[in-house]
């Protein structure tokens, strides 16, 4: 078995002025892996995600990426234009607030098509069918394809955002608290949807969350962050069931039993 390494992160560090955002981060991500990044607010997990997804330029460190086409590339030293193009077509970012990831002035179908147009797909009926297909796959009513995002509930908007991102078959999907703003019953359904999709299409994903139940159900491996550094890493169920670091032990023992 030889699974391709698609991301190699070395000593990734970002400062906001004198303030540490994240520091000395190292990990490898293999094709088809789902990585969870957990930690309390202020631990640096969102900063790390932003560095990885190209939203901010880190102060130091290295990110090597190896995509289906083009061999290994040093992501941080790519020309800005190439970086943008990569992020548009091969990265997919699912924001916590779906309104940050959706274009509210165009229809649900238009939102899904927008991504596909970026990867130069121009056939109208193909775009429309893909839109319907993804709406159904994320358990939305595809008859609502012509409605605007604001006519959907929060949970449905999140499904639409996930459809939009996954429809263009990105090589890495980044999710920032994907179920953060949703109530519990909606959360469970969305997790279920994401889980069944990742099983079907072998997507590689990095999820940032503070919710340990989310990482247990969705991720293969974990980075536990505190004060900007990674304190523990490993197989998700190993980290949660047999935590080695004192902070991870505190985190896992703080969950209330329902």
């Amino acid at each position: 078995m030889n699974i391709k390494k698609i991301m190699h992160v070395e000593n990734l560090t970002h400062f906001y002025g004198n303030q540490i955002g994240c520091k000395g981060i190292n990990f490898d991500l293999y094709k088809g892996e789902i990585l969870g990044i957990v930690g309390e607010s202020g631990s640096g997990k969102s900063t790390l995600l932003k560095c990885l997804s190209g939203e901010i330029s880190p102060s130091a460190g290295k990110i090597n990426i190896s995509l289906d086409q083009g061999g290994v590339k040093d992501f941080l030293s790519l020309p800005e234009q190439e970086k943008r193009q990569l992020m548009r077509s091969m990265w997919g970012i699912v924001h916590q607030n779906p309104r940050d990831g959706l274009n509210l002035r165009i229809s649900a179908g238009g939102n899904i098509a927008e991504r596909l147009l970026n990867v130069s797909e121009k056939n109208y009926s193909f775009l429309r069918n893909t839109g319907k297909y993804w709406m159904e796959k994320t358990e939305m009513d595809s008859d609502r394809i012509d409605e605007f995002p604001l006519s959907f509930s929060g949970g449905m908007q999140q499904r639409l955002q996930i459809s939009k991102i996954l429809s263009s078959n990105p090589q890495i999907v980044f999710m920032d608290e994907p179920t953060g703003g949703l109530d519990v019953s909606v959360q469970a359904k969305i997790l279920d949807t994401i889980k069944s999709i990742v099983r079907d299409i072998n997507v590689t994903m990095i999820i940032v969350t503070h919710d340990l139940a989310v990482v247990r159900f969705l991720t293969d491996k974990l980075l536990v962050m505190k004060d900007g550094i990674v304190v523990e890493t490993g197989l998700t169920d190993r980290v949660l069931d047999d935590p080695q670091h004192s902070y991870t032990q505190l985190l896992t023992s703080s969950i209330l039993q329902v």
């Binding site: 078995m1 699974i3 490898d28 293999y30 088809g32 892996e33 469970a188 359904k189 997790l191 279920d192 889980k195 099983r199 159900f217 293969d220 491996k221 490993g234 197989l235 169920d237 190993r238 069931d241 047999d242 080695q244 670091h245 004192s246 032990q249 505190l250 023992s253």
Partner: protein
């Protein structure tokens, strides 16, 4: 042929947030398990039988030592990349925990199907096979499309067993598979374990009932001898 090998395995828990308490659980485990063996783990409650199983599954991390699994090549579970362990769990090692852990809302039949889908063994005959297994385990047809989270303890345990026994694993780790079952269901599960053994599956099982052990197991490993002296 050896399929599992433990070399100098030690396990202690350090409870950092409880005054740094150190619990030495198991020490100096050196042993080999051969293909097709059915091993019973024995020893008094709290001695570390479940801990032992969980280390074999990569769920607990040994404090030192090697746990080698011989697939086509050797993989040291205690020191492997995550995707290698995940792959091993997908195709090679099945684990039945004491308690069922599944996503809410997912119907029983899908939970069992999922194992075959993960192993890329799901085809047009699979549903018949799954329904047959669930019936044999006395899970009523009316429950197949319900989430098992609302089932009784014994029913959940049988779904948990079905989920793993449907798969094509070379090693099965079973943590008290018959604990909350009545006599009829117990003997059904024992027969299923026997038929796995006929297919040369290697089984490591925790089971308190000596009669069951005598019936299915080829060897007992008593964990008493791995208790650290300083306890």
């Amino acid at each position: 042929m050896k399929i599992i090998e433990l070399k100098n395995v030690n396990k202690k828990f350090i409870l950092h947030n409880q005054k740094g308490t150190v619990l030495n659980v198991l020490k100096n485990i050196n042993l080999e398990i051969k293909t097709g063996e059915c091993i019973a783990l024995v020893g008094k409650s709290g001695i570390g039988k479940s801990t032992f199983l969980k280390m074999l599954y990569g769920n607990y991390l040994p404090s030192s030592g090697e746990i080698n699994i011989y697939n086509n090549n050797k993989i040291n579970i205690a020191n492997s990349l995550e995707h290698q362990i995940i792959n091993l769990r997908k195709y090679f090692i099945g684990y039945v925990s004491q308690f069922l852990r599944v996503l809410p809302r997912v119907p029983t039949i899908e939970i069992v199907s999922d194992t075959l889908k993960q192993q890329s063994l799901f085809d047009e005959h699979s549903l018949i096979k799954i329904k047959k297994l669930l019936s044999e385990l006395n899970i009523q047809e009316s429950m197949w499309n319900l989430s098992p989270l609302t089932f009784s303890g014994g029913e959940q345990q049988r779904v948990n067993l079905a989920k793993t026994l449907i798969g094509n694993y070379s090693i099965l780790l079973l943590d008290e598979p018959t604990a909350s079952l009545d006599d009829i269901n117990k003997s059904i599960v024992i027969d299923m374990i026997k038929s796995k053994l006929k297919k040369d599956v290697t089984i490591i099982v925790i089971v308190h009932d000596k009669k069951i052990r005598n019936e299915i197991c080829t060897r007992e490993i008593n964990l008493e001898k791995y208790i650290p002296n300083d306890n």
